[in-house]
Each structure stands twice: as structure tokens, then as C-alpha cells.
Amino acid sequence: MTCALEFQDVHFAYQDGPESLRGISIAVKKGEKVALVGPNGAGKTTLLLMCNGTLRPTKGRVLLDGEALAYDTRSLREVRRKVGLVFQNSDAQLFAPTVWQDVAFGPVNLGMPADRVKSVVARALHDVGLVGFEKRPPHHLSGGEKKRVAIAGVLAMDPEVIVFDEPTSSLDPATAEEVMDLLDEVNHSGRTVILSTHDVELAYRWADTVVLMDQGEVLSTGTAEALFSDVALLHRARLKPPVVMDLFRELAGRGVLSREAPPGNALAFTDLVERQVLGRVSPDGHGRIYIADVGDGAADRVKTLLSSGTVERVGAMGTKAKRFAGDEKIALDFTYGVIDKCLLRAVNGENSLVLTSGGMVEHTVGRIAAYMTESGRQIEVCRM
């Protein structure tokens, strides 16, 4: 299988400066979620700017779909249509006087006819949940809304790979989680997503593959669990392990937990402790998880369920589901990290409802099944 994007021994130095990238080799598979993790100054942004040819390696090469990037104007145009880049600082990326004009900037420049531009922009704004914002000037929006506009501007060009530089920087936790939720949605629609971050917690929960960088080099590549349990490596990159990992290591060090199988998330950690303390997992009294696809006719079924009082908590995954909840005036308890939270509720014996749509229904079912296998618990899933 060809990689979506590949770096082969990439070196880079800004004019007369020291090398800021020193032999980077990374292969990103199609449809993967990859996080570049490292401290400021590790060279993450420089590397991201190479994904679409904005910077050119001084040595080594970048491959897109198995083909080495060329740097003539015509090839770069093609590359930039295929690889979208969302900057850390939304202000630098939003330059048009209105949201609509900003999102339409790419499509118009690609020479799309006017009505196609209209439909593409409408679609992109719909996907990021900003319908109704068309005429607003971007610089009057909140940080999270600006980020969404920037993402819509890139989505409007329908890229295969989207690259995010520190997507959650200076956003508050809830907004950050919603943006991450949006990134997942983008990924579920079949796009490869690469992001850079110094937020270890974020990478830990989100990424399929983590690339640990420091001082222009790749220290290690692997799954989040494997990478983040190597404390010495993290220390070298001036990063802290995720809190859950830190607690696990500390308890393992005291002989309270077994060293094998570091937990992948908070849910796994609590299960681990529970098994250790009680000698087993609590086998019964689990709650049920309802999953609703917010398509046609869903409103009635959901309302009936809610009015019956069997459901204690409601979560929405994805922009469409959130808009559905807004339209139907359903109060949401969870707007991010929904599946894990509902699993935690179920373990505590409460019933919950997940509103979602399209491919994310299957994803949810799969995730719950995986948890059941891992934990040995039985949780009832009701699709409606």
C-alpha cells in the first residue's frame, strides 16, 4: 500500500541558520491519524510546512501518494489542492472580510463556476457547524469559531490530507475537545489527518500513531501507549507523560499495580485499579447505551425514548448530531469524549444515549465492542 505522505531523510535549514530538521523519516498511511509531538522548537511546524511544499527540504524528499513532490508552480498547485494546512494562529489564516468570502477563497481561485462555489462553501460551513455565520467578519469571532472557519476554508478545497498545526492552542478545554471531535469527523470522512501538538494528553487519546520529535529529529514512532510509557524518552523531549500514565507508573513502582499492559486511557486505568482492589470487575448492574443515527424520523424516536425516562445522560458526536440536538432542544450532557463517558456511565449502572450520524455509528459500536473484549464486561447496546 502506498503511503498518503512520506518523508525520506528530510533535512532543512533556514538561511544560514543551523539545521532545524536533521534527517526526518516518517511514513503516514492513508486514512491514519498521526500526531507529531514535541516541545516548541522541535521542528514540528517546519515539517508541516513541507507537507504541501511551502518549504523545500535542503536534503531528502517528500512523497505524496508515492510520488516525490516537485516544486514548479504547476505541481505545487496540485499538491496544495491535495494537502490542506490549518495554521496554529487562525488570525493569520483568515484574511477575507467575511466568513463566506474566506471559505470561498480557495474554490474561487481553483476556478470553480459560481454556483459550484456556492454549494461547496455551503457544504463546508455545514460540516464545521457554522451555518448562519456567512456574513460575519472573521476577526469578530471567538477563537473556536475562527478555527472552524479556517478548517472550512481548507475543507472547501476537498483535500485528501489535512494538516493541523497545534489545533487546540489557546482554546479552552471544551472548545478544544469540540475541535478535536471535528478532526475525528474529518478523518471519518476518509481523509488522512496529521497534527502537531505539545499536548501529550491530547495526542494520547487521539492518535493512531505518535511521532515524538525533538531538536529536528524523530526520537521515536509508535502507538501512544508504547511511546508514552517510556519516561526517559519523554524526559529527553522535555515532555511530561500523560497523567494516567504517570499514575500507573507510580503505582506499578510501589507494587500496587502490575507493570504489564499500561492503560490506554482513563477508562482502562480505572478498570485496572478496580480489578486490583476488588479482585475482579464488577460483573453486573451495567447500564445500557442507546445509539441513535440522527437521520430522517430520528427526532420522534429519540423524543419517545427521552420522555420515557430510561435514559439518564445524552451525548452528541459530530456536528450534525449537535445541530440536531440544538434543533430539537435536547439538553446534552456530553459534547466530547462521548463514547468513553457513556462507557463510564454504563459501568456505573446508568443508561445513556449517543446521538451521532453516518459512519460514526459503526465507529461507536466498534469502540464499545472493543471495550467489552478488553474489560470482560458486558454492556448492552441498543441501536435505534
Partner: protein, 260 residues
């Protein structure tokens, strides 16, 4: 545009040399070049200033070579005009283009050569100042020369904002290019106008932010002057004097020399 010469000044090997001395070398070389009646004096100055900047101040040679191309186009076009306009002496070359006859004479050729040489000597001396002296130290000298306070303060603030705005401009320009903002002439014009407009709005906001930041630190109309560099040693002063004398001597010795 990311090539601000000052960034190199901070890495220069002559960075810590007394500022006045550096200004004296550069300024003296500019004036001597300008006052030389023959192209040989300026040529000598250009060559030595370039050698000092690359050899002693350790400016990367490739970068320096690139810099020399900046004055090239203006200097050659304008020198060409002079070549065909002015006169004196024998005709070297003449050609008829349509109704026009272009004539170059020894006098005009010599004048053009002089102008070219002076331009390069002036630019090399200017590069010397630009590539060895951080702006902050020039501000200190401006202060000690008793230039009007408002003028120096304004210069310092403009200096600060140049870097802030360049950062934003470059980032936005990148963002536009990624979304194909400069693929055709008309969309390039539109993109550039958007960039400039955004930059203006952003600049204005920054100005207002600065007022708050200055007031938060009790702004009362004063800016701190920089600290003086530790003075020049006698040896350094002697070397500079010797260099400028040498330049003067060469200029005087070669005063009658012509090329054509």
C-alpha cells in the same frame, strides 16, 4: 523579504565593536567613495569593504553575493542612460535605432563607469553597517547625537512593529498561496489587496494594544536609552584611521585615472 539584513548583524563577528567606530568606517567609506573623481578609488573601497564584511565580520559569502545583485538592476539601467546621454571625448560606439542614434563616447563611458563604481562602493559600505550593527545600537547613537526624542522613540516603535507585522504578513501570504491566491494576475491583485487591508486593520489593533501595554507600565513620555557599548580601544581607532587614510590615498593617487 524574510531577509532582514539586521538579523545577520546579531551574528556578526564585529557585533560587539564600538558602534561609533563602525559607523565611522561605513560612513567614511561612503563619503570617500562619493568624493572620488575616478572609478578606481570607489572600486578599491568596494573591494575592501566587501572583503572586511565577508572576511572579518563573517557574513556568509553566498548571502553577500546575493545582496550585491540588489543594486545591480537599478545601477545598470541608469548607468546605461548616462552612457548614451552625456558626452565628451571621442565616439566609442554608435548605433541607430529607428529615428534615434545612440552614441557612447569616452567621456560618457568614463562617467558611467564612475557612477557604477560609486554605487557599488556606497552599497558595500552600507552593507558593512547593516550587517555588523544592530539597530538598537544605532538608536543609542541617535540619542547621544541629541536627535529629537520623538523621532528616536518613533523609530524604535516602528522597528518593533516591523517585525510583528512582517511575521503576520508572511504567514498570511503563505496561507493565501496554499489556497491558490496567486495563480493568476487578477486573483493575485485581489489577494494582495486583501492582505494589505487585513494588515492595516491588524496594525491598527496592535497600536491600540500598545497604548494599553505602555500605560500599564506608567508611560510618561520617556523611553529608556540603550546602554553604550564599551568604547573602542586605541588599536581599533588606529586601524580605522589607517584604513580611511589608505582609501583617501588611493582616491587621490588615482584621481586622474580613467578607463576609456
Amino acid at each position: 523579504m524574510e531577509n532582514i539584513l539586521e538579523d545577520h548583524a546579531h551574528r556578526s563577528a564585529l557585533r560587539h565593536l564600538d558602534t561609533r567606530l563602525k559607523l565611522l568606517v561605513g560612513g567614511g567609506a561612503i563619503l570617500l567613495g562619493l568624493l572620488s573623481p575616478s572609478p578606481l578609488g570607489p572600486a578599491f573601497i568596494a573591494a575592501t569593504m566587501a572583503a572586511i564584511t565577508v572576511g572579518v565580520a563573517r557574513t556568509p559569502i553566498r548571502f553577500y553575493a546575493h545582496l550585491l545583485t540588489i543594486p545591480l538592476s537599478f545601477a545598470t539601467i541608469s548607468a546605461a542612460v548616462i552612457l548614451f546621454l552625456s558626452g565628451g571625448g571621442e565616439t566609442l560606439w554608435a548605433a541607430a535605432i529607428g529615428p534615434l542614434t545612440l552614441t557612447a563616447t569616452t567621456g560618457s563611458a568614463n562617467l558611467a563607469a564612475l557612477i557604477l563604481a560609486r554605487t557599488f562602493s556606497g552599497m558595500c559600505a552600507l552593507f558593512f553597517i547593516a550587517l555588523t550593527t544592530p539597530m538598537a545600537e544605532i538608536f543609542t547613537v541617535m540619542r547621544s547625537l541629541r536627535l529629537p526624542r520623538e523621532f528616536v522613540d518613533l523609530s524604535m516603535l516602528i522597528y518593533h512593529f516591523i517585525f510583528v507585522l512582517i511575521g503576520e504578513a508572511v504567514a498570511t501570504r503563505n496561507a493565501q498561496e496554499m489556497r491558490h491566491g496567486y495563480v493568476s494576475f487578477t486573483n493575485a491583485i485581489a489577494s494582495f489587496a486583501m492582505l494589505a487591508g487585513m494588515l492595516f486593520v491588524r496594525a491598527w489593533e496592535k497600536g491600540e494594544e500598545l497604548i494599553v501595554a505602555m500605560d500599564a507600565r506608567c508611560y510618561d513620555g520617556v523611553f529608556a536609552a540603550g546602554e553604550e557599548t564599551e568604547g573602542a580601544s586605541r588599536r581599533q581607532i588606529a586601524l580605522v584611521a589607517a584604513y580611511l587614510c589608505l582609501c583617501t590615498a588611493v582616491a587621490i593617487a588615482a584621481r586622474g585615472a580613467t578607463i576609456f
